[in-house]
Each structure stands twice: as structure tokens, then as C-alpha cells.
């Protein structure tokens, strides 16, 4: 069956819902597609302590947005996957529906980079984000005793989430050095990384570590003096000189085996001691999901600081394919508030292009300012070089051309 809309939004996370609400409230006919049974995406699992206003609960914000979408009568295609996207523009769903529209927003978010570790296919090993979904959205403990492998903003945040949920987090460890672990298995690089977090470190120990990590010579000292038993962050042991080299168990996860590593991450002797756990979470970092943008023919560029391969887009978030927009983590890894503001910008731009708003340029200017403001106020920065990455993208987008069918 073929259905016609002004805008088809793929992905009902903060970016997609933000766009759908704005466009629909200006009178656009919008359809929203998501593969989950409920809209909200990863927003539903996010809990932050804001410096001024206290707890920020993603679940509440997602529910409000969902209610608005219902009030506006936006049709939601839930538990539906997009299997194809063709000019200009047809969005094919796995259930056989075909959605036609002049504008498409790809707001598919991100997935996690995998770091393979011996034993990682055993039930009980999961990506760190899965643990957050289970604990904060589904309200089920991913395990009773959990080890975390991989140190980054996401794993530190979720370690805290798990602790709040009553999970015993036995420690945060490095992954073993392999083709996929990159800097994450290198203690020196991880100390430097921690130092980049010092401005948002919610803990005096991390702040101290941040100060230590400012000079390279001091960084080396920092690793050498790093206590072999780890350092406790929110009561969770943070190990920068230990890697989990194997995950063992009969059918499901039972133990992790640990080795000490030198300051560059090279493996030393294996420890006799094994630690018993029932769940292991691996954090390899986030990766923008660009398959659909790529399938639609959008030009993509690799910008490490934004998470890897991303579609090229202009200051109105339109890709190199006219009518195809992107917002949220598929434009680069940033927080939910930035994603929401980006979605609202896209909703405004498209409403203006359809001719639904009178003061388009003024509304667009305001929407852009909101994106900048959310970026400035972000409590979490996923990559220390985010601003650099954004500048690279802006330079590249100025020299690219939009393809009009």
C-alpha cells in the first residue's frame, strides 16, 4: 500500500520526535517510523544529574514527546524497519508499506563499536548500551555482578546507572590490545582521555587525575603510580593497568580472567585470580548509523571526532541529496538535548520549504541558536576533539554540492 506524506521521519528518538512535533504542529503531514515497540529511542534510558536543575529523566521527556505526537495525530509505524529508500522519496518498510514524501529525515542514531574478546559470544556478555536499556528502560538488572570493559564517557555514565539500580559493579577494566581495541587498551592514552573529562568529572578523584594528566611527562608518572588495585570512582574500582583477556563459563558467563598490562597496553603476566561475574559489558564507543543515508546516495565523510563515517550535511542539516535531512547521532555523537534541538531545526526548515510558516528565516535562526546553546551547555562531551570535528565538517560541506533529482 502506498501512502503520501510531506515528511517521513525514520527513527523516533529525541531528534526524530523533535522534528515530527515541530513539522506536524505547523501543519505538515508527518509519518514516524521506528523499529522499537515504543518511541523514545535511547532517550528513555538516560538519567543525568544536572548542575543546577537536579535530575534530568529521559523517560519523562520521551513520554511527553510521545503524548504530543499522539495529540498531533502523527501516524507511528512502530516495530517497523526501513528496508529501502528510493528517489524521490519512497521509504519501503519491512511490512510491505510504502511511504512517499518530498522530505525524509534520517534520525537513526548510533550503534556501538564492537571489541571482540575471547568468550564474548557467551550469554551474559553485552554491549554497555544494552545494560543501560535493561536497567533504566526495562527495569531488569543485566546481572548481579557486572564487569565493564572499556573506559569512556558512556561506560562511566552507565557504571553509575548500574550502581543506582543496585548492581554490584566489580570494576572497569581495559580491553586486551587487539585490532579493534585501539586507544582503549592503552593506559597512557586512557589517562590522557580522563584528563579531557576533568571539566565534567563529577568526582574529586577524576578531577585530580585530570590535573595529573595535563603533561605527557606527568602522564607517564601517573600510569606508573596508578595503584595496582585500581582507584575507586563512585565506589567502582577503575583499573587502568588491567585488561580482561578472557570471559569464561560453561554455557553462560561465570568468570573473567585478568592480566596486568604495561603503560602501552602490552600484556604482562596473567593473574592467578579469576573474578566471578554473571555479566560483562563491553564499551567500544558509539558509531553513527549511516546505512540509510548511504543507500539514499548521500555523500559520506569520515570524521573521527564525530564518531566515524557520517553523511555530509549543511547548516540546515540537509544532506547532499535534496530533501534528505539528518539529525541526532547520525550527524555525529552528541547528547540527547543537541539531538532534540537538531530535530526541531529540521522540522522548522522543512515546514518553511513547504510554505507552512510565515516568518521562516527568523524561526530557522532561532532553531539554529538553540542547537548552539544546547551544545554549549552539554554536560557530556563524547569526544575531546568534538569542536575540531565540527569545523572539519563545516569546511567540507561548504565545498560539496547538493544533488537535485
Amino acid at each position: 500500500m502506498l501512502m503520501k506524506y510531506d515528511l517521513v521521519v525514520i527513527g523516533a528518538g529525541p531528534a526524530g520526535m523533535g522534528a515530527a512535533i515541530i513539522a506536524a504542529s505547523h501543519g505538515a503531514r508527518v509519518a514516524l517510523v521506528d523499529e522499537n515497540p515504543v518511541p523514545g529511542g535511547k532517550l528513555r534510558g538516560q538519567i543525568y544529574k544536572e548542575p543546577k536543575s537536579g535530575w534530568w529523566i529521559g523517560e519523562k521527556i520521551a513520554r511527553n514527546m510521545e503524548n504530543k505526537i499522539k495529540q498531533l495525530g502523527v501516524p507511528c509505524f512502530l516495530e517497523c524497519e526501513v528496508w529501502g529508500i528510493y528517489p524521490k522519496w519512497k521509504v519501503m518498510l519491512n511490512n510491505g508499506e510504502q511511504l512517499e514524501s518530498d522530505f525524509v529525515l534520517i534520525a537513526t542514531g548510533a550503534a556501538e563499536k564492537a571489541i571482540p574478546i575471547p568468550g564474548w559470544t557467551k550469554p551474559g556478555v553485552m554491549a554497555i548500551g544494552a545494560a543501560q536499556v535493561l536497567a533504566n528502560i526495562q527495569r531488569v538488572k543485566p546481572g548481579n555482578r557486572v564487569a565493564i570493559i572499556g573506559l569512556d564517557v558512556l561506560s562511566l555514565t552507565i557504571a553509575y546507572d548500574l550502581k543506582m539500580a543496585g548492581v554490584d559493579v566489580v570494576g572497569i577494566y581495559l580491553p586486551p590490545l587487539n585490532a579493534f581495541s585501539s586507544d582503549k587498551s592503552n593506559p597512557l592514552k586512557m589517562i590522557a582521555y580522563l584528563s579531557s573529562l576533568s571539566h565534567l568529572a563529577p568526582n574529586p578523584m577524576l578531577k585530580l587525575l585530570g590535573k595529573i594528566g595535563q603533561k605527557e611527562s606527568v602522564q607517564k608518572l601517573g600510569v606508573n603510580y596508578y595503584p595496582p588495585f585500581g582507584m575507586r570512582v563512585w565506589g567502582i574500582p577503575l583499573h587502568l593497568r588491567k585488561a580482561v583477556v578472557e570471559i569464561t563459563g560453561n554455557d553462560i558467563v561465570e568468570e573473567i580472567e585478568i592480566a596486568t598490562v604495561d603503560r602501552n597496553g602490552q600484556l604482562g603476566r596473567k593473574q592467578e585470580k579469576r573474578i566471578s561475574v554473571d555479566c560483562v559489558c563491553i564499551s567500544g564507543g558509539l558509531l553513527p548509523l549511516v546505512e540509510l543515508a548511504s543507500a539514499a546516495g548521500c555523500e559520506c565523510v569520515h570524521i573521527e571526532e564525530l564518531g566515524g563515517l557520517i553523511p555530509l550535511y549543511n547548516d540546515q542539516l540537509e544532506t547532499t541529496q535534496s530533501g534528505v535531512f539528518v539529525a541526532g547521532n547520525s550527524t555525529g555523537i552528541e547528547g540527547a538535548k543537541v539531538a532534540m534541538a537538531q530535530g526541531e531545526l529540521v522540522g522548522t526548515v522543512i515546514s518553511d520549504q513547504i510554505g507552512l510558516v510565515k516568518d521562516g528565516p527568523e524561526l530557522i535562526k532561532k532553531a539554529k541558536e538553540k542547537v548552539s546553546l544546547e551544545r554549549k551547555n552539554a554536560v557530556i562531551k563524547f569526544h575531546p576533539g568534538l569542536e575540531n570535528g565540527r569545523e572539519k565538517l563545516e569546511r567540507l560541506s561548504r565545498i560539496s554540492e547538493v544533488n537535485h533529482y
Partner: protein, 101 residues
Amino acid sequence: MRIEKHPILGYIDKKEVRITYNGVDYPAFEGETIAAALLANHIRILRYSEKGKKPRGIYCGIGHCYECRVTVDGERSVRACVTGVKDQMKIISQGIDADEI
């Protein structure tokens, strides 16, 4: 495994339904995913790999890796992590029988 009372998110307020997994009856909450409902009942093994018959469970939790695929009411390879439970849903693990594709 349920987080009945969360310090920030409060109590769980959901309606109980019944599901079966490999023929055994279990309680679940309306609106939660199959993967979460089974884990809440201490079930981690969702299928067995085709070649080595090795157990597999939840991995990515967002429908990308397809490690958690199960048979639901006769339909094969449904992703347990992005599919909501429904009352009387019959869920079966895959990869046990030798003649399975």
C-alpha cells in the same frame, strides 16, 4: 533480577501478563521486551548458533546484532530485544534441532 524500586525512577507500574518460553509458563510485564522479560526470569540463553550449537543471548540491545533472535508464535528470527511481549505469547529458542535451517 527486577529493579522493583529505583532511587530516581521509582516503582515499576506495569500490568502482568503470561508468556511461555520453550513450553514453560512465565510472568512478564506488558510493554517490556521479550529479552527483558526472559532475563527477569533468569533466562540468558535465547538461541544456539547454527554451526557450533553454542548458546547466544542479548548483545547490542537495540536490534542491530541479531544475536537475540527467537521464534515467536511460529514466526522465526524475531529480535527479542526490540519486540514487546503480549499476553499468551509463545516464544521458542532457535538452533536446537538438527534439521532447522
